[in-house]
């Protein structure tokens, strides 16, 4: 046990702090507002893209992506990645990204050379944005039952079917998508992983309004949409395995402990600053005790994150501490938002830019969005199945025999 950072890492952290001091005024606001639809995009890099470019130049974004694909080409160093996440969170500055944390690692791992050159550089510059076309109306948790099909016709796949809950499809440039290419194969072996532009003729995006009142996700319909055959990642029928790769990267992104710590600080400020009947909420012992309980959970998850980080540095499989992050982290975030709403009381129900609203309605948004994240990316129940089966070794449920009529 040694939580000191060696001189190399201290220096790295100091440089980063200095960079943030000098440049943080250039960072776009913490909450990104994407353009309402793809047609409205402006020419030239927007502030977010310029910020990303600056971060890449200084080695604070796309760190481990090889230079030939536009990244910084650094050796993977989980500790430096941790320092970057921590310092950006502390400074409340929007961190950089590595393109799309699901797609880019997948392409780098399983794509062809040509695909890497085509997809990775613009993605990490933020010029090629992505949406994930996995879920379908009939296939959510049971993703492998998906039925959107792609048939080969000449040099193309021809896609027909429907995706749903596709976040950001209305402004994404590209989709990575699971389609059934081998209808006669067993369900996990008949799927392929395709990437294509959202401008492809035959794709129709219909926004779906969520409980937050905004359309953050969509239905996407495919009618004879043609995608060149070489836009498959991995081989035909191997899409399930390619996708699992993506899901692994996604799960790790959800439930990030740095975010939870920041949130905790925000609630603390809120409770110190808000008054009820002329008294600070912090003076109310019931509220305060809840805050303390959340602090205990938040710290446990923070140190759990340090443990995972240590395993990764040693190239060891973290096991259980990693399996639980999505479940516990998303739950904690939701509970923190709930706490903030309760601290606000009636003010916590104000919405739509109402008078007296606090923090622009951020907590109300989060309270709902976080529930979405408990469901999305593998529901809490599916997480528990995985913890039970893969981490604890409990048996799977017996398969139900499908009786043919």
């Amino acid at each position: 046990m040694d939580l000191e950072y060696s001189a190399e890492y201290d220096a790295f952290r100091n440089e980063l702090r200095q960079f943030l001091d000098e440049h943080k005024h250039l960072s776009p606001g913490a909450v990104a507002r994407p353009p309402a639809n793809r047609e409205e995009k402006e020419d030239g890099p927007n502030p977010a893209q310029r910020w990303q470019q600056l971060l890449i130049e200084h080695g604070y974004a796309a760190r481990t992506i090889p230079k030939e694909y536009g990244g910084c080409g650094e050796e993977p160093d989980p500790l430096k990645a941790h320092i970057i996440a921590e310092e950006f969170a502390k400074a409340r500055v929007r961190p950089g990204h590595s393109g799309d944390n699901r797609l880019v690692p997948t392409v780098l791992e399983l794509g062809t050379e040509e695909q890497k050159r085509w997809l990775v550089p613009p993605s990490i510059r933020g010029e090629m944005t992505w949406c994930q076309g996995y879920s379908e109306p009939g296939s959510g948790s049971d993703l492998a039952s998906l039925t959107t099909r792609a048939e080969v016709d000449g040099d193309d796949f021809v896609i027909n079917g429907q995706k749903i809950w596709t976040s950001g499809a209305q402004h994404a440039d590209m989709m990575f998508c699971l389609v059934r290419t081998e209808p006669d194969a067993p369900k996990h072996q008949g799927i392929s992983y395709l990437v294509f532009t959202m401008d492809t003729p035959g794709i129709e995006v219909r926004p779906l309004v969520t409980m937050t009142g905004e359309a953050t996700f969509n239905e996407v319909f495919f009618t004879d949409a043609r995608v060149p055959k070489n836009q498959i990642i991995g081989k035909r029928g191997e899409g399930w395995f390619v996708a699992n790769n993506t899901l692994k990267h996604e799960r790790e992104g959800l439930g990030d402990p740095h975010q939870a710590e920041n949130r905790f600080r925000e609630i603390e400020e809120l409770m110190s600053n808000e008054n009820v009947d002329g008294e600070s909420i912090m003076n109310n012992p019931a509220h305060r005790d809840r805050l303390l309980q959340l602090q205990g959970r938040m710290l446990a998850m923070k140190y759990n994150g340090m443990r995972v980080l240590t395993s990764q540095r040693k190239h060891e499989e973290p096991g259980l501490p990693r399996w639980i992050i999505k479940l516990q982290g998303c739950e904690l975030n939701h509970q923190m938002a709930a706490m903030a709403i309760d601290a606000l009381g009636e003010l916590g129900t104000l919405y739509h830019r109402s008078d007296h609203i606090r923090a622009g309605g951020m907590w109300q948004q989060r309270f709902m969005m976080d529930l979405g994240l408990i469901i999305g990316g593998g529901t809490a129940q599916i997480q528990k199945n995985m913890i039970g089966e893969r981490a604890l070794g409990l048996p799977k449920e017996p398969k139900v025999e499908v009786k043919s009529a």
Binding site: Y303, L392, G393
Partner: protein, 360 residues
Amino acid sequence: MDFALSEEQQFLKQTVDHLLRDQCSLDVVRADATEKQTKNPSLYDGLTQIGIPGTLISEDYGGVGLRLLDAALIAESLGGSVATVPFIGSSVLAPIAIELAGSDEQKNVWLPRFASGEITCGVALGDHVGARDNDPITSDGASVSGRSMFALDIQNADVMLVATADCELHLVERSEVELKPLYTIDKTRSVGELVFEKSSSEPLSSTSDPSGTLAKVIDAGRVVVAADTLGAGQTMLDKAVAYAGERQQFNRVIGSFQAVKHMCAEMAAELEPCRSLVWYAAHAYDAIPEDARLTACHAKAHLAEVGRFVARKATEVHGGMGFTDLLGLHYWFKRIELNRQLLGTPEFVRNEAAKMQGWV
């Protein structure tokens, strides 16, 4: 940056676990509980042979000179086996108090005897961790008077460490104290009421900050109690998972029912981060003073909550069997419950954590 146990620490834990597996079976615990025995002689001997009572005592005084994180690992093992031996009071709180507040002479006199396992020490801090039914301890410098409740590790103890209401620490010979055992739900550990009437005492007064010293002693105790709960909770979870993988109903093992699987997953998801919290709190005590008190409070409070949850769910996974005396799961359940209340209830320590952050 390396947030993990060292090889030595892993080895230490394995060694203690190994010994407990051999010498602290459920049958042993049950027999001890029946006989109200909380210092099993052969088990205590075994632990003494590997140096456990001297864990925190420096080598100058015949101890092993390890740190609180090591003591926490030992406590985790002891909790895991619901071991019927003194540890938290006698081998953690008392040696720390003497190291922090004793004179050189007192250290010379007492610590080697603790380290060798020759004597054990009861610890009475009742005035400072949720006093009830007590009579505040006062002192005239050479004797103490008053009553302290829920003193730890008192059975067969040769000497008692007592904190006065003014935060002085005193050592009192067993013969000077009226000792009344309190029988709690947890029969694996000894707690009791100590009555002092002008009992001649030896003040530990080589500290310029008595209240700060006492607070440090309590921090250490809280971390180690939390570690005991961690171990007890882990055993309950392990037993639940094993049972769920074995027991059949409706022609399938019950662990394949989601209701059961999800109980197990929830226990694991709650308990696993607790391990990191306990490690951190213990390490902070050893090396990061600015975080020590806050994380000690959180470890104590959070483990109390998670411990109770795991104790209850693991019992449920076992069905009726979980509720029986026969299976013995209740020894862990009860140990976790006692731990929850010792050295400050969760609400009480969370309030302390609020105070130290300026929130009250």
